[in-house]
């Protein structure tokens, strides 16, 4: 039985810890410096995007077909948030590392781990503060959205929220990696090097391995930047969301394992191996979740509405055998234009990729390039990668009539010619000034009750 004079440490309020962590980040220079750097970068990207969108809109003003191709998601949101992504990749690690690195450097960690909180609680509080810092960092980008609306621009709520969620997951992933790096290293500088090695390494993976066959293609999928792609395309990929969350929790758990200085190194290594194994398994499981939802207003990731309804009604199994190598541009086209959309709409579809080797030097293989469609035992083949040829083929195999296009369901497009020159004043003048003011206010000492101040002289 425990001694009665052992203190009860399990019911400590979480709020003071959360406030301390958030204040720790806000009181540092890293967050404010990042915000000040972010203002012109995000602002100029937004300005350029609006200008280019305006030029495209001017030529599309009297042509409905051209106007329907003008989506604010591609034209304004993705470029603006692309600048946000760059600054988060390069600068956010410094903000996140501060949540732990400073305490390790100064030795304050020795006090922190003696507080009546469990180690996971300490990391959760730090992760919450990092998430708070990400929200603060979002101010320039969100202000761009507000300016876009003020200029008369259009925003589709779902695709905008989806994009924000993608960036949130990416930011939390960077934050979790930074916390882990801070937990395993002795100084904030070393932690920054480790984190940047991962984030910039992701770019290198993207540049060098994407589109390569075999193992290289699989390795390139580990790039952090891959996290954002579907969200930028207006897709809510549940597997990706779950995988990202598993990775975030995994890195946070690793940070927890390495935080306490009193745990022997061997125990940390053994537990880390277990954590990596469990996280890896969860990420692999998440990768099996193929459900993706097209949240775009223009339904770019789906077939036309009439086809969607007709295809959703097909209950028979469709087996598609593709005689193409994965890196073949025709396969890339086929996947984007047809296969991905079929996977989203058909209740029972199987896609088999037969030619897994490089497509170079396959001139002697006559079947190479063919795609075989087998619907309930009826088979047809084509080399086309266009939905305009493939959908009629599938309807023929399913013995259903071609659906009649529904008028009025086409995406109208949102052309906008706006003078964005004034937004530069906001991003290069007013917003940085407001941020500097907020920084100054955050550094001001609070008022202290007179009785407290007189404590020493009483």
């Amino acid at each position: 039985m425990r001694s009665p004079d052992v203190i009860a440490v399990r019911r400590t309020p979480l709020r003071p810890l959360l406030v301390k962590e958030l204040r720790g980040i806000v009181s540092g220079r890293a967050l404010w410096t990042m915000l000040l750097i972010m203002c012109p970068i995000v602002g100029f990207s937004f300005f350029q995007a609006v200008s280019l969108y305006g030029e495209a809109s001017a030529s599309a003003s009297d042509q409905a077909a051209l106007a329907s191709g003008l989506s604010p998601l591609d034209g304004v949101l993705v470029p603006t948030f692309g600048a946000f992504y760059v600054t988060v990749t390069l600068l956010f690690p410094f903000v996140a590392i501060r949540a732990l690195g400073r305490e390790k450097e100064t030795g304050t960690l020795r006090l922190l781990v003696q507080l009546p909180y469990r180690t996971p609680t300490l990391i959760i509080a730090k992760a919450a503060a990092v998430a708070g810092a990400w929200l603060i960092a979002l101010i320039p980008a969100v202000s761009a959205l507000v300016l876009w609306l003020m200029l008369g621009g259009h925003l589709h709520a779902l695709e905008t929220l989806n994009l924000l969620m993608g960036h949130l997951l990416y930011g939390l992933l960077i934050g979790a990696i930074a916390l882990f790096a801070a937990a395993i290293t002795e100084s904030a500088a070393t932690a920054a090097i480790v984190t940047l090695a991962v984030t910039i390494g992701s770019w290198i993976l993207d540049f060098t391995l994407a589109g390569q066959p075999g193992l290289a293609e699989w390795v390139s999928r580990l790039s952090l930047t891959q996290t954002l792609r579907p969200f930028e395309q207006g897709l809510l990929a549940l597997g990706l969301v779950l995988g990202s969350l598993a990775a975030i929790v995994g890195f946070a758990e690793l940070a927890t394992l390495w935080l306490h200085p009193g745990v022997p190194l061997r125990a940390k290594l053994v537990r880390s191996l277990g954590c990596v194994a469990v996280t890896g398994a969860l990420v692999l499981l998440a990768a099996q979740v193929r459900t993706t939802i097209d949240v775009t207003e223009d339904r770019r990731n789906s077939f036309p509405a009439a086809d969607q309804r007709a295809l959703a009604a097909l209950r028979g199994p469709l087996v598609i055998t593709v005689h193409l190598a994965p890196e073949d541009p025709r396969y890339v086209d086929l996947r984007r234009n047809v296969l991905s959309k079929l996977e989203r709409v058909l209740p029972n579809v199987t896609i088999r990729l037969v030619a897994s080797q490089s497509f170079i030097g396959r001139s002697g293989d006559d079947s190479y390039g063919e795609v075989e469609y087998d619907y309930a035992g009826r088979i047809d083949k084509t080399r086309s990668t266009s939905d305009r040829e493939i959908l009629p083929l599938i309807y023929g195999l399913a013995q259903v009539p071609l659906p009649t296009p529904v008028a009025g369901e086409d995406y109208p497009g949102y052309p906008l010619v706006a003078n964005a020159a004034l937004v530069l004043l906001w991003f290069f003048g007013a917003l940085p000034l407001l941020i500097a003011l907020a920084w100054w206010l955050s550094r001001r000492a609070p008022r202290i009750p007179l009785s407290t101040c007189q404590g020493g002289e009483s």
């Binding site: 001694s3 203190i7 709020r15 003071p16 781990v113 003696q114 009193g262 407290t452």
Partner: protein, 249 residues
């Protein structure tokens, strides 16, 4: 029987010990930082861990607090073995030379500690008064003088509720008058029922404030007991703590 074990067994026969340290060992590669350290801590006493720089005092305190892993040994708190993870329930360790959350205001650091440990505003005010921190409450921790940084750490320790306080070099950075004040404060804390283990390298300071002593040199215990017990052990009558330490190390 080893010297340290013999010392552990020759504990003052007055009350069951609050804490028993048994065979604590810590290596850094080939170097023995702590070699089979054993001693007892009694409730309400001020125990001094005495030794020169490099004797292993800080390592011992951090090992006791569970902040560094050890190769061997255990802590028994009121007859119950206490693993690393539970040490913070019974003791609070105040490191030497630390400026906690150095970019924060002194008042905020105090408020944080007080809120976490459920202290009232009145208790905070009393603590601030007892260590004389009032003039620097609106200063940032990194801007404090060495003496005020020490007072802040002392205030944090006073705000914690653990029955056992471990303090590393509590008088470093204080002038003569301040040292006397802090000694008085430590005595009052002990009188109020808390137990203190102080790592001190200034023997004169230790002799004035501690009830009992554990003499350390090269990571090993060279003697333990009250001043009179140590005098009897060394057969030096009369002798100061300094004389005894020199005789035993």
């Amino acid at each position: 029987m080893s010297v340290t074990a013999a010392m552990a067994n020759s504990v003052v026969e007055r009350a069951p010990p609050l804490l028993r340290v048994l065979g604590l060992a810590k290596h850094y590669g080939e170097q023995h930082a702590l070699a089979e350290i054993s001693f007892d801590v009694h409730a309400g006493e001020v125990l001094g861990l005495i030794g020169p720089n490099g004797a292993g005092k800080t390592t011992l305190l951090e090992a006791l607090a569970g902040l560094i892993p050890v190769e061997a040994g255990e802590l028994v708190w009121r007859d119950t073995p206490t693993p690393n993870a539970e040490r913070r329930d019974i003791m609070f360790y105040l490191p030497d030379g630390l400026r906690p959350w150095d970019d924060e205001l002194v008042m905020r650091v105090l408020t944080f500690f007080a809120t976490v440990h459920g202290r009232t505003a009145r208790e905070v005010t009393e603590t601030i008064g007892s260590v004389g921190l009032a003039p620097v409450l609106r200063k940032r921790v990194h801007a404090l003088s060495k003496g005020y940084a020490r007072r802040l750490m002392l205030a944090l320790a006073l705000l914690t509720p653990q029955p056992l306080l471990l303090m590393d070099e509590p008088f470093d950075g204080f002038d003569l008058r301040q040292t006397r004040d802090v000694m008085g404060l430590i005595r009052r804390v002990a009188a109020a029922g808390r137990t203190l283990v102080l790592a001190i390298h200034q023997l004169a300071d230790a002799e004035r404030v501690c009830d009992r002593f554990v003499l350390l040199a090269d990571g090993a215990v060279r003697g333990a007991g009250t001043l009179d017990e140590l005098r009897a052990q060394t057969k030096l009558m009369p002798a100061s703590l300094e004389d005894i330490f020199l005789a035993l190390t």
